[in-house]
C-alpha cells in the first residue's frame, strides 16, 4: 500500500506541476483521515456485544462421551460363565459381570461425563453409565474449590479413595479386567456409595494426605447393612520423589462397616506405586495392592486376603505392554472342606496401541484359576480385544 502510494506520488510529481502536486497531497491526507475514521468505526463495532441475548453457551460444562467395547474369546460357554463363583467370596449366581461378559462382541458401556464449576466455591462432576439395558449414575458429586486450611470436601455419590485403584474408572485401568481381590471383596463398582469425603493435605515438603469418608455402605459383598450410614473409611497416602525420574507413592487404608448380618467388617489395604519416567512418553510403572478382610458373621469370622501386582511399560506415545498377577492369599472361611481353595490366582498380559491420546485398542490375555463353575474348579483362558474412545471435553486423568 505504502509502496504503491509513494510510487504513484513519484510518478505524479513527474507529470504534474507543483501546485497540482500539493493539491493531490492534500487530498491524500484527507483520504487518510477518512480511512482512519472508518477503521475506528469498524473496531468499535467488533468490540460491541454481538452475542444472542440471554445466550448461556459460554457456561456449558465440559462434556465427554466414553465408549467401551470389546471382542471376547473364552473357553467357557456364556451360560456357564455367568454362574461362576469365587470360593469364599462370590456365590454361584451372585457374580455381577457388567464388562466383557459375552463371548463375541460386547458394548460394555457408553459413559456420559460432565464437569463444571458451579460458582467460586463448588465444582460438580457426574458420570452416567449407560449399559445396553440399564442406566446408572456412576458418580455424581459436588466438591469444594476453596476451603481453608488445605481441606477438601466432597459430597454425593462417588468412588471412595480407599486404596489405589478403587477411585479409578474402568476405562482408566491399565487392564480391562478388575483385580480379583477387588472383584471378590467389592464387585465391579468397588466401594462406590452416597456419602461425604474430607481430605487434608499436610503442609510438608513431602506429599502426605489424610482422608476420611462416611458412606452408606450399600456394597453387599463386604458391607450391605444400610439401616443407617454404616461405612467409615480412612486413609493416609504419601509420595516421595527419590530422583527427578523415580517416584514412590504409597497408601494405607481402612474401611470399617456393617455387613448384612449386622456385624462388623473391616478391610485393610496397603498399596504402592513405583514409577520410573524414561522420557516424555515412556515409563515403567509397578503398582501393587494388598487387601485384607475380617468379616464377622456372628458365630464365625471370615479372614481373607489377596493382592495384585502389575507392571506396565509404556514404550512410547503409541504402545504399552504390561503383565499382572492376581492371588487370593488367605481364605479362612467355613466353606465345606470338599471345595478346593488352594492356589486361587490369575495371570494376565496386555498389549496396547493408542493411535492418539483419546482412542485405545488393547489386546489382553488372562489365565484365570480363581473360578468355580458347575461345582468344580475351572481354569479359564480368555482373550479380550477392547476399544475405548473418549470424545469431547474429557478432563486429564490424575496420577
Amino acid at each position: 500500500m505504502k509502496k504503491t502510494l509513494s510510487l504513484s506520488l513519484l510518478l505524479s510529481s513527474l507529470l504534474y506541476s507543483d501546485s497540482e502536486l500539493s493539491e493531490i497531497k492534500e487530498r491524500l491526507q484527507q483520504q487518510d483521515i477518512k480511512i482512519q475514521a472508518l477503521e475506528k468505526v469498524a473496531q468499535e463495532r467488533s468490540s460491541v456485544n454481538q452475542s444472542a441475548s440471554f445466550s448461556q453457551n459460554a457456561y456449558l460444562p465440559d462434556m465427554a462421551l466414553i465408549l467401551n467395547m470389546s471382542a471376547v474369546s473364552r473357553d467357557v460357554k456364556n451360560s456357564e460363565y455367568e454362574t461362576y463363583s469365587i470360593p469364599g467370596f462370590i456365590q454361584t449366581g451372585d457374580a455381577a459381570i457388567p464388562f466383557n461378559k459375552e463371548r463375541g462382541f460386547n458394548l460394555n458401556y457408553a459413559e456420559f461425563a460432565i464437569r463444571s464449576s458451579v460458582d467460586p466455591y463448588f465444582e460438580v462432576f457426574a458420570n452416567f453409565h449407560l449399559h445396553p439395558n440399564e442406566f446408572e449414575i456412576g458418580e455424581a458429586f459436588v466438591q469444594t474449590r476453596a476451603l481453608p486450611y488445605a481441606l477438601f470436601l466432597k459430597a454425593g455419590k462417588f468412588k471412595s479413595s480407599f486404596g489405589r485403584i478403587n477411585s479409578k474408572h474402568q476405562h482408566s485401568w491399565n487392564f480391562d479386567m478388575q483385580p480379583v481381590i477387588y472383584e471378590a471383596l467389592f464387585g465391579p463398582d468397588a466401594i462406590s456409595d452416597p456419602g461425604v469425603q474430607l481430605q487434608y493435605l499436610f503442609p510438608t515438603d513431602t506429599y502426605i494426605m489424610a482422608g476420611v469418608e462416611a458412606m452408606q455402605g450399600s456394597n453387599e459383598r463386604s458391607f450391605g447393612d444400610t439401616e443407617e450410614n454404616n461405612l467409615y473409611i480412612g486413609y493416609l497416602k504419601s509420595s516421595v520423589d527419590i530422583t527427578d525420574e523415580f517416584s514412590f507413592l504409597g497408601g494405607l487404608s481402612i474401611a470399617h462397616g456393617k455387613n448384612t448380618t449386622a456385624n462388623t467388617t473391616d478391610v485393610y489395604g496397603a498399596d504402592i506405586t513405583l514409577r520410573q519416567q524414561l522420557d516424555s512418553y515412556s515409563s515403567l510403572v509397578l503398582q501393587a495392592e494388598y487387601l485384607d478382610r475380617n468379616k464377622d458373621l456372628g458365630d464365625t469370622t471370615d479372614k481373607q486376603a489377596g493382592l495384585y501386582a502389575e507392571l506396565v511399560y509404556k514404550v512410547n506415545k503409541n504402545y504399552s505392554a504390561g503383565v499382572r498377577y492376581d492371588a487370593i492369599t488367605k481364605n479362612e472361611t467355613n466353606l465345606s472342606p470338599d471345595i478346593d481353595c488352594d492356589n486361587l490366582q490369575r495371570y494376565g498380559a496386555m498389549l496396547e496401541y493408542k493411535p492418539f491420546e483419546f482412542s485405545r485398542l488393547r489386546l489382553q490375555y488372562s489365565y484365570d484359576q480363581t473360578k468355580i463353575i458347575n461345582g468344580e474348579r475351572r481354569d479359564i483362558n480368555e482373550v479380550i480385544l477392547s476399544l475405548n474412545i473418549a470424545a469431547g471435553a474429557h478432563g486429564a486423568h490424575s496420577y
Partner: protein
C-alpha cells in the same frame, strides 16, 4: 516491649516471601527477575519433557498446596496435566478466578489461531499457538503482568516490584537490541520443525517454517508424510530442521540424510538444552543455533 513486638512484626513482614509456583521454567525465571528476594519461585514442569505432557506427580501437590501465586502459560498448554493437580492441591488461593492465579496467555497476542477446531485435525491448540515464550519480546509483557500481580498480592512491596520491573525492562531492551542485530543476518532462512513450537521466534525474525515433522499436532510421524517432507525440502531448498529436545530424533536425522539439511536441537524453554539456563542464554542459544 511494645517496640520489641513492633520490630518482630516488621521483621516477619520483611522476610515474608511470596511463594510462587510457575508451570514452566521460563515463566519462573521471569518471576524471579521481577520478584527478586521478595519471592521464592519453584517450577512445576521439568524443561526436559514435552510441555504438553507433564506427569502429574503427587509431589507437585505439596508445592501447589503452599503456593501464594500460581503462574501458568495458558492457551491450553497445561490442559493435559494441571487441572487434576489444581483440584487436589486443596489451595483456594490459586484456583482459576482467585487472586493468586495468573494466566499469562491473557496478556499475550496469540498467533496461529485455527479457523475451525476439531480433534480430527489432531491435538491442535484451539486458542492459538501457546508457545509464545519463544518470542523474546513477550518477556517484557510477561514481566509486566507478573509485576502487576505481585504488587496486587503483596502491596506493601509494590515500589520494589515496580523498581525491579523498570530495571529488568531496561536491561531486556538492551539485550533485545543486541539479539535483533545478531538475527539480522538470519532473515529469509527456510526451516521445518517437529511441532509448531518455534513459530513465535521464527515470525519475529522473518524465518519461514514450511512444515512440521508430525503430520498433525500430537500425531507421530508417518512414512508417507516424511517422504512428502523430503520432496518439499528438495523443491524449496530448505536446509534446516528444528528439532526439540523431547521428541524422537530418528525422523529428523533420516530426513537430513536424504536432503543434506542440518538438524538443530533448539531448546523450547529455559534449561531445556545444556547452556540455556538463563533467559539470555536461552534466546542466545536459539539464535546461535538457527543462524550458524
Amino acid at each position: 516491649m511494645k517496640s520489641f513486638l513492633l520490630i518482630m512484626l516488621l521483621a516477619s513482614l520483611g522476610f515474608a516471601s511470596v511463594k510462587v509456583e510457575a508451570t514452566y521454567a521460563s515463566l519462573g525465571a521471569i518471576a524471579k527477575k521481577v520478584g527478586g528476594d521478595l519471592v521464592s519461585v519453584h517450577v512445576l514442569a521439568s524443561s526436559q519433557y514435552d510441555p504438553h505432557f507433564i506427569v502429574p506427580k503427587p509431589s507437585l501437590l505439596s508445592k501447589l498446596r503452599r503456593a501464594d501465586l500460581l503462574i501458568i502459560n495458558g492457551g491450553g498448554l497445561e490442559l493435559g496435566w494441571l487441572p487434576p493437580l489444581m483440584r487436589s492441591a486443596n489451595n483456594g488461593k490459586i484456583q482459576v478466578g482467585a487472586e493468586g492465579f495468573l494466566d499469562i496467555s491473557h496478556f499475550v497476542a496469540m498467533i496461529d489461531k485455527p479457523n475451525s477446531v476439531s480433534r480430527a485435525f489432531g491435538d491442535i491448540h484451539a486458542e492459538g499457538n501457546p508457545h509464545y515464550i519463544l518470542d523474546p519480546y513477550n518477556v517484557l509483557i510477561i514481566a509486566k503482568a507478573v509485576a502487576q500481580k505481585l504488587s496486587q498480592l503483596d502491596s506493601q512491596n509494590m515500589q520494589t516490584y515496580k523498581k525491579n520491573l523498570a530495571n529488568f525492562t531496561r536491561e531486556w531492551h538492551i539485550y533485545l537490541k543486541d539479539l535483533d542485530k545478531n538475527m539480522l543476518t538470519c532473515k529469509d532462512k527456510k526451516v521445518i520443525q517437529y511441532h509448531e513450537l518455534f513459530n513465535y521466534f521464527l515470525k519475529r525474525y522473518g524465518i519461514k517454517s514450511y512444515a512440521t515433522i508430525e503430520p498433525l499436532p500430537g500425531i507421530s510421524p508417518s512414512s508417507k508424510h516424511t517422504l512428502k517432507l523430503i520432496n518439499l525440502m528438495r523443491e524449496q531448498k530448505i536446509d534446516m530442521i528444528l528439532q526439540d529436545v523431547y521428541h524422537e530424533k530418528k525422523t529428523a536425522h533420516f530426513i537430513a540424510s536424504k536432503t543434506d539439511a542440518k538438524v538443530k536441537i533448539i531448546p523450547h524453554d529455559v534449561g531445556a538444552a545444556k547452556g540455556s539456563e538463563t533467559l539470555e542464554d536461552f534466546y542466545n542459544m536459539i539464535a546461535q543455533r538457527i543462524c550458524h
